[in-house]
Symmetry: C2
Subunit: 253 residues, 2 copies
């Protein structure tokens, strides 16, 4: 019997946002593993467990996932991580891979699980979903991500302003991730679309270092973290006509 | 001192997905309130707390939110609900409004909070975010909602097939909510776009009655619940070029 590889979502940073099921796994006999950017580096996911009052077990496995888009480097890292956890799983012990946020939303766990299953298709994989940083950000601001019939887009800002132009007419909420590299352009775009009062900048959402900026123009003079997002509500969206069960039909289908 | 109005997200149905902070509120002195469709009706949110082993307190407040799009009817319901909780808050006691899923994502809490604040702007409102049904569905299926640089759209299917056509080229994942009224048209659209093998239908995601259907054509002969969604991965998406920090710049900004 193989142990289970469990993606344990811990939420964005507040240990109160750990789910009860994730907690049960953390205090079980499962062997912990967690992602680090480099050998000996800090792990944000592990930090959440620490703040919850849990000490990392002595046999915990830091797994190195470098911050790069180089596919060959990444593939080697995933393979090495899979090699590190496979003996544990084959010995029948569960591995709890700690994930910041939600394991299904921009998380490393997907790649680890794929690499492990490529080596041994019999390993059972389980995912415990969790709260994302942008949900926590919206909650903290008292802003809904979506009201009735709203449409929400979650997009890395790196796709560029042209893409934002194309998406804006179709969405009530835009969650712009990783805004740092394009921040000035995004600020210009918000101003040009009259959205300056409907957007909020959040750095390290859901963590103890969270910073919220509503006076967006002040950002032009600031240094911001890579972990920055923007919540944009689009009050001017033309809602269109919804089909049966929602709004009167008008032949769009 | 007013009590706090707390939107307590309980996740989609599995009591293990209740967060620790939500749990703490449930077992605190806060007075519970929960949404029902009609007087004397069942509450899905309350059912989650029950399955977690918590008995609803004798002084719990069922608040009627009818299932309608009639804005006048809804406004009256919100006002009545606000009238019911306001005396509790003014007496200094917290009110824990139980929410299925996430209080910021298509939830009634937004309207209740607005109605209460309209009557008394001094009431502190707090939102505890939670896991959504579609996150739980993705986790259960072992499907990521988003991998690196993916874009995700969350749209009520009622916007129609034309809208899906417009959105498809821009997204790696489409979360189609409330697919029931348009189900046959959505099935045709998936087939026409070669997405039949990349879409999964989930009814009552995250609840004990969850039903997953991958053989989509069988749905044409089935009765489905109003609480149905479709997760669609778009493997053919043209990823385009991302800007600095993500992929090589190519002048989109």
């Amino acid at each position: 019997m193989r142990g289970r590889l469990i993606g344990v979502s811990l939420g964005p940073g507040d240990p109160g946002l750990i789910t009860r099921r994730a907690w049960d796994v953390l205090i079980s006999d499962a062997r912990w593993a967690w992602p680090v950017r480099r050998a000996g580096g800090e792990s944000h996911a592990l930090g959440i467990a620490r703040r919850a009052g849990l000490a990392p077990p002595a046999d915990g496995l830091p797994l190195v996932f470098p911050m790069t888009h180089d596919v060959a480097v990444l593939a080697r890292a995933w393979a090495r991580a899979a090699d590190a956890v496979l003996p544990v799983l084959r010995a029948g012990r569960d591995v709890a891979f700690l994930v910041e946020g939600d394991a299904g939303t921009y998380a490393t766990f997907t790649y680890l699980a794929r690499a492990v299953r490529a080596l041994d298709a019999d390993v059972p994989v389980e995912v415990i979903p969790g709260v994302t940083s942008f949900q926590a950000a919206a909650a903290g601001l008292g802003l809904p991500l979506a009201e009735t019939d709203d449409a929400v887009a979650i997009v890395p800002a790196g796709y560029g302003i042209g893409e934002l132009d194309r998406l804006l007419p179709h969405f009530d909420t835009l969650v712009l991730l990783k805004v740092k590299p394009l921040l000035d352009a995004v600020l210009d775009w918000l101003a040009a679309n009259g959205l300056g009062d409907h957007a909020v900048f959040i750095e390290k959402a859901g963590t103890p270092e969270e910073r919220v900026v509503r006076e967006l123009e002040t950002l032009r003079r600031c240094k911001v973290s890579y972990l920055s997002l923007m919540l944009v509500r689009n009050p001017g969206r033309e809602r269109g006509t919804m089909i049966r069960g929602c709004r009167p039909k008008q032949g769009d289908a």
